[in-house]
């Protein structure tokens, strides 16, 4: 039996009837046609399929499309500005060469966006712990952590510029 769902994907309302067992990642790739989200292990281990559900990172291989009904989903395709300007996390990944084969990258970037929303200026240890749900099969973690720290430092500096020196010290702790 089909389930009617309405999901806001990258800001656009999508309305479809799907089989109840359709996984969110299948829905995004095969029904909506967004292939940026990769399927890695398909067992909620590797994090390659990470997307944002109402702004928080989830593994889309372990969420039913039906569970996303009435909610908003952001995929890697929804991060950059319409004019092509990269999201700060995407720019930092490019800047710091935070990818090797690139397979884990879409999920890794989405996990970082979620992490930085919860903790805008994480320490190195908080970055590593915050990304424990994402595996890089090339083991290229070092530059990924560098990229995240760079975005965090920028966020701290921006907060300081607008809110004064006290906030900067707090944000840069």
């Amino acid at each position: 039996m089909g389930v009617k769902i309405v999901v806001e994907v990258n800001g656009t309302a999508q309305s479809h009837e799907v089989e109840a067992r359709t996984l969110l990642v299948q829905y995004l790739r095969d029904v909506v046609g967004l292939h940026g989200t990769n399927i890695g292990c398909d067992t909620s281990s590797c994090g390659a399929c990470t997307v944002l559900l109402d702004g928080e990172s989830v593994k889309s291989c372990t969420v039913l499309a039906a569970q996303a009904d009435g909610r908003s989903v952001t995929t890697i395709e929804g991060l950059a500005e319409p004019d092509g300007t990269l999201h700060p996390v995407q720019s930092a990944f490019r800047e710091h060469h935070a990818l090797q084969c690139g397979y884990c990258t879409p999920g890794m970037v989405m996990a970082v966006v979620s992490l930085l929303k919860e903790n805008p200026s994480p320490t190195e240890s908080e970055v590593r712990l915050g990304l424990e749900g994402n595996l890089c099969r090339c083991t290229g973690y070092h530059n990924i952590v560098k990229a995240v720290l760079a975005v965090g430092a920028t966020a701290g500096a921006t907060a300081g510029a607008t809110a004064g020196a006290g906030a900067a010290a707090e944000a840069g702790r």
Partner: protein, 278 residues
């Protein structure tokens, strides 16, 4: 991997869930889905109907219940982990919730789902055992409470009756020392062995073990030895007494017994240090 076909119904209330669950004995409740969906993808679970509790927001809360903390069954691990009230009143529970899986799992998984699933390798079932929590369930015959010590009957088997829905977890305030020792290879793996130490209302340490039997289990021999005045080292050596731990790719039963003793010793030491510091 795609689950076998099933019907899906999203319910808006606990009463609706009870009615749907009572009408179909092969139906399963869906909360965050992070225990159930992986089993369904492996076709180890093949429910006819999934009753999605996602539309019942009234089950997600943390409240001060006086001598206890009341946590709605649909409260997600990340919300338990971050709740100031849980951190103050039951810091062990907040810490354990923060050790479940990884951030993505904690954004979806719920405390009630994890407990009702009753996996001996999961962290929260052992935590509620050690904390002497009480589970509130609603069913066709009304509401009843189950002490955590009477919930886990066998492998993935609980004393929840057909048609019953776990709605709330009541955790006694536990101001004493505590510890959670989780031994695993990667963050998102289940514990190879885990040890949870909580201070009982009596003031003595309760010790519960993860992945050391077919159910989450108390380390009864360690607890009796401590009650009889044994030292930490000696009591910890008895952690696996009377237990038949599982064997799998990660560890043999012998290795698990060894790990249990080591983790219980570390846990008792950490709990005692915290108790002293408090």
């Amino acid at each position: 991997m795609i689950p076998a076909a099933f019907e899906y119904r999203r319910v808006g209330s606990v009463a609706e869930a009870i009615a749907a669950l009572s009408a179909d004995e092969d139906a399963k409740l869906l909360a965050g889905g992070h225990s159930l969906l992986p089993l369904m993808k492996l076709r180890l679970a093949v429910p006819s109907l999934l009753i999605d509790l996602g539309g019942v927001p009234s089950l997600s809360y943390v409240r001060d219940g006086g001598d206890h903390l009341a946590i709605g069954a649909l409260t997600r691990h990340c919300d338990v982990e971050r709740s100031d009230l849980v951190r103050r009143s039951a810091p062990l529970l907040a810490y354990v919730a923060g050790q479940v899986g990884d951030p993505q799992v904690r954004h979806r998984g719920t405390i009630g789902g994890s407990i009702a699933h009753g996996d001996p390798a999961s962290d929260l079932p052992a935590a509620v055992l050690a904390l002497e929590a009480t589970l509130v369930v609603e069913g066709p015959d009304g509401e009843r409470t189950i002490p955590a010590g009477e919930l886990f009957l066998g492998f993935l088997e609980t004393s929840l009756r057909p048609g019953e829905v776990l709605t709330e977890i009541r955790v006694p305030r536990s101001p004493g020392g505590w510890s959670f020792q989780k031994f695993n290879r990667r963050a998102q793996d289940w514990a190879i062995v885990g040890a949870v130490i909580a201070t009982a209302p009596s003031g003595r340490p309760n010790v519960a073990l993860v992945n050391m039997a077919a159910t989450p289990v108390r380390a009864a021999a360690t607890e009796s030895a401590l009650a009889a005045g044994a030292g930490t080292e000696e009591a910890a050596r008895l952690a696996a007494d009377g237990l038949e731990p599982p064997s799998d790719l990660n560890a043999s039963p012998e290795y698990r017994r060894h790990l249990a003793s080591v983790l219980v010793r570390r846990g008792l030491e950490e709990a005692a240090a915290r108790d002293g510091a408090a």
